[in-house]
Amino acid sequence: MKGIGVSPGIAIGRAFVIKKTEAKASGVLLTNEEEISWEIARFENAVGLAVAEIEAIKSEHLSLQDEDLAILGTQIELLTDPQLKDDVIEKITSNRKNSGDALIEVIGAFVHLFESMEDEYMRARAADIKDIGNRLFKHLNASNSSVQTFPPDTIIIAEDISPSETITMDIAHMVGFATQAGSKTSHTVIIAKAKGIPAVVGCGSQLGTIKNDDLVILDGITGLVHSNPVQEIIAEYTAKKEAYQQSAEKLKALKDQPAITADGKKITLSANIGAADEFADVFEYGGEGVGLLRTELLFMNRDSFPTEDEQFEFYKNVALQSKGVPVIVRTIDIGGDKKLSYFNLPLELNPFLGYRAIRICLDKKELFITQLKAILRASIFGDLRIMFPMISNVQEVRSAKRVLAAAADELVKEDVAFKSGIKVGIMIEIPSAAVTADILAKEVDFFSIGTNDLCQYTLAVDRMNEKISHLYDPFNPGVLRLINNVIEQGHKHNIHVGMCGEMASDPLATMLLLGMGLNDFSMSASAIPMIKDIIINHNMIETKEIYKNIMQMDSSEEIVAYLREHTK
């Protein structure tokens, strides 16, 4: 059966099925004032006991992590919520309900309110409210349930698991859990992730067929759950589990470690992304920013150009997800191999040398200005920066900056808020730009080297043409000299130089680029740990030496062999 994999990893173990008993209303009505005061006191007493219970969990489980503590803190806030108390007391005094029935009604109303919200996160909060309701109900009736213990390698199978159950459960022996209900953003899932316990939710009623002690395999990545699997599947997953654990350990060890060379030079590792939802990966792999936000996704798979407001929503969402780290937004890069169905690009003999990117933008200024206005507006929500692609001379930079100024003027006239002084940079991907880096550096705040196009333009090799693919070679001494010039001139003029092309994620190139002085590498998020591993294990003296030696070599074969030998 299949659910939603919410906490990655593979778990193999024996099932332990948890069944829940629902709290039922008694229907009793109170007859006099003494009973009313007594029921109010009972409710307040239950709140006190429930809070004390959570405080006890906090002090007994010293190994609790920030996530757990935050969730327990939220539970205490909910238990002591003044609105909850007012509503329950109102039901006791005005409707003459006993405390248990009053609680069931009040909790039911809040659960209903949250379950009916559109927002998935808010719907998931209904589970938290049910959880505190059950906790209070338990204390009202003074039936104390203690912490449950399991045999080793237990996989919990349940309709749903409440956040506080997750915390009080015998975690040491629990290797995974699968639930019938549940959502990706439930607190139970947050805890499972924090503790590295594989979990699958939303399996549906089929999960009910699993019985105690059944052998269960669950895959927290794909969401697959196998019960009583055949031998081959067990073997397959045993191998998968080992491989996952090894890579997870390495990742974890590197994630929070800063990218600093052995002799103390700080290097920035950023990620290339195409949409806001990729930020989870960026942070998971230890990315410190976004060196390239591709905006093509926004323009593709639709029938017309997105409006300023549609674009604003896209950039705003990115800015909000970024938690304040720098995000470099590349303006429209269509043309070349990227076509739009609704924008008639003339058929060209050499599309890569043709009407594309900034050339289209400076020609169709209304398109460009719409995008720039949307980015400027969204920059209120995060540290957005603007980057123009396909720059071949300084006049294009000046023209693009004039359009940016015009976009800002329009926003001022329309009285729309935006952040002024946004940082502006360019992609260095055309040889003339790389050669004239000294001229261009005076006009911008940063460079970002796009090695894919720079390589194909420098070597006159179409990277799509398989017949000549062997000539496409980023280690060609000519390409390396251009890259070196860009880094050197950029730093001479005190501007920031990064690289967002494929070379930034090529482990063979890392030492050489460090030696050239590059200090900002941007790549797909999953490549970050591999490059970080190289950075922290080498020092700058070593990389400078490698760089000096390589600049003496005249063939890329020799260069690659040399780098292979020195990158261990």
């Binding site: 919520d81 003044p82 609105q83 909850l84 969402n317 938690k323 304040g324």
Partner: protein, 88 residues
């Protein structure tokens, strides 16, 4: 009485974790604080009420503070919305 408007800088909006921090922050002051979104106003002491407003990232809300230490309280709450919230 002090009223200030803030943009919610957290993508997930005012979810349980930031709401918990905010409620605890407000408890440090004697002033009464409330939060207004659209035409609904709730006191800043109830998690259920704050969450029920379903405040999303990018939305604008108003904070109203009234009491003897309202200046300090408004300042602390301001810092929460402009600096802390995006990291919670």
């Amino acid at each position: 009485m002090i009223t200030n408007d803030y943009i919610i800088l957290a993508a997930q909006g005012m979810h349980a974790r930031p709401a918990t921090v905010l409620i605890k922050l407000v408890k440090n002051f004697k002033s009464a604080a409330s939060l207004k979104k659209g035409d609904k106003t709730v006191k800043l002491n109830s998690m259920l009420n704050i969450l029920s407003l379903n405040i999303k990232g990018g939305e604008t809300i108003s904070i109203i503070v009234e009491g003897e230490d309202e200046t300090e309280a408004a300042q602390a709450i301001g810092l929460f919305f402009t600096e802390q919230l995006k990291d919670l």
